[in-house]
């Protein structure tokens, strides 16, 4: 089978990717919206936590109606692409970059990418490492594309811990992991535009730990971990974090986190990292499955 992309397919792919970017930026996924509405119910009436969540909800509705970015920080642009064996990844990545630049011109994305050495923002959102495209091969003939727009304010409150950590009495066990994850929640307060969602990786190296922690955000917010030990830890951290009284925006309240997603990766005997990514309430991720003509066959979230 020949997977080289012809120009008609490239055009269709381009259109599909621009629509994926538009929808990801302007519309919060259903599962996240449901969780936000549930937390709005939970908060005491007349509190500032309740008002904050109401404003957030109004913002979600306005952004969708106007087809405008939910938040002006349209974030790091990260694609996760599942492809059949032999797929032309180079052509796909080139089309991704073109779709990003076009979406920036249309205002779906802010001019948000800065040359780290010169400080220059050329307004295209494309440069070294931007956008990021991760490819995974699979045995199915379908192509699916997931997109995450990961904000900067919440990225800044992410943390990586190396165990053991005496200061927090954190040993190389699940209790140690629990201690550092909850420490990250307290350190973050409301600064990552909470209520937030944690993606955590136990193990890995410094790079893969953060990478896998981010991939946890591709899970549905209301799914359950298939590993009972991690499932228990996820539920425990969610419950405990919501008892700390940090609340939306750190104003105080019951909703500090909307979800916790944890995975484990093997580590070296010498290291034990716990890597924590924080996603803000403006949790922008969507996905599409493409049909044979590279039009959108269905939405994944």
């Amino acid at each position: 089978m020949d997977y080289t992309l012809e120009s008609s397919l490239m055009n269709a792919l381009f259109e599909s990717l621009v629509e994926l970017i538009r929808r990801t930026s302007a519309e919060i996924p259903e599962d996240v919206h449901r969780a936000l509405l549930a937390s709005l119910e939970e908060e005491k009436k007349g509190t500032i936590a309740e008002s904050a969540l109401k404003i957030i909800d109004r913002n979600i509705a306005l952004a969708k109606q106007k087809s405008q970015p939910i938040c002006q920080d349209t974030g790091s642009i990260i694609f996760y692409v599942d492809v059949p064996i032999g797929f032309d990844q180079l052509a796909f990545e080139k089309t991704c970059r073109e779709a990003v630049t076009a979406s920036t011109k249309k205002g779906y994305l802010r001019q948000n990418s800065v040359d780290s050495l010169t400080g220059v923002n050329d307004g295209t959102n494309v440069g070294p490492g931007a956008p990021t495209v991760h490819f995974h091969q699979h045995h199915s003939p379908t192509v699916s594309v997931r997109l995450m727009l990961k904000g900067g304010g919440c990225e800044n409150v992410g943390a990586q811990y190396s165990l053991p950590l005496e200061k927090l009495h954190a040993n190389r066990d699940l209790d140690g992991c629990r201690r550092v994850i909850l420490d990250a929640v307290v350190q973050a307060q409301g600064k990552g535009c909470g209520p937030g969602i944690l993606g955590v990786c136990i193990g890995g190296d410094r790079a893969t730990g953060y990478e896998y922690s981010k991939q946890q955000f591709l899970r549905m917010l209301d799914d359950r971990n298939s590993d009972p030990r991690l499932d228990a830890l996820e539920q425990d951290i969610l419950k405990t974090a919501n008892e700390l009284g940090i609340g939306p925006m750190g104003f105080g309240g019951k909703t500090t986190l909307l979800g916790v997603k944890i995975c484990a990766a093997n580590r070296l005997p010498a290291s034990f990292f716990v890597s924590i990514s924080y996603m803000c309430w403006a949790y922008r991720r969507q996905g599409i499955e493409l049909d044979a003509d590279h039009a959108i066959a269905r939405w994944l979230y």
């Binding site: 952004a63 002006q72 205002g107 105080g252």
Partner: protein
């Protein structure tokens, strides 16, 4: 909900307490990293721009030019304030600022300046770019557009019912400090 109208008086500002919700109408000036650094280094405000009894908004808005030449703000959420901590106290003192709007809170120097000179920190809802853009009814003008670029320029915005929460007041209280201490104590019980 407490209604505030610019220009703000010292009495109105000193009457506010942490945890109160406010709804601000009048004029606010955006200013972020470049403006704060520039003023800190002795730069002067352009003619016609005065922060006296006024409001600085830590925001890099998205502003589009309409066909008739008017500016329109299409996204206007707050940016992280703590980056201005090295400069904010001096700017409150030297320019007579009565309120600073942003997100994430500020540090001890700003808190001390709020107390000494009669200023408050108002926390807007981070990420609520669309709701807050709707509160901006008019762009009155812009300064330093060429010099600093659009997000870093000083935009003079007319706002109506802009919602925010007082998280640092003029009495030495900080909601951020209170919640941090409270959450640390609650966590200690659960370890």
């Amino acid at each position: 909900m407490i209604r505030l109208q610019t220009p703000l008086t010292e009495a109105a500002v000193r009457g506010l307490r942490v945890g109160q919700e406010v709804s601000l109408s009048g004029v606010v000036y955006t200013g972020r990293d470049a403006v704060h650094k520039y003023l800190h280094e002795g730069g002067l405000l352009p003619d016609g721009v005065s922060f006296h009894d006024g409001v600085i908004y830590h925001c890099g808005p998205v502003v589009m030019k309409e066909p008739n030449g008017d500016w329109k703000v299409t996204a206007a959420g707050p940016t992280t304030s703590i980056r201005e901590e090295p400069y904010q106290a001096q700017i409150i003192r030297d320019f007579g600022v009565r309120a600073v709007i942003g997100k994430g809170g500020m540090g001890d120097q700003t808190m001390a300046a709020c107390k000494e000179y009669g200023c408050v920190y108002l926390h807007a809802i981070g990420g609520a770019a669309q709701v807050l853009a709707e509160c901006v009814r008019k762009v009155r003008g812009v300064s330093f557009l060429e010099k600093f670029g659009s997000p870093e320029a000083i935009w003079e915005l007319e706002v109506v019912d802009f919602p925010a929460v007082v998280t640092i007041d003029a009495h030495g209280n900080s909601r951020h400090r209170e919640i941090l201490a409270h959450s640390q104590a609650e966590l200690a019980k659960r370890l």
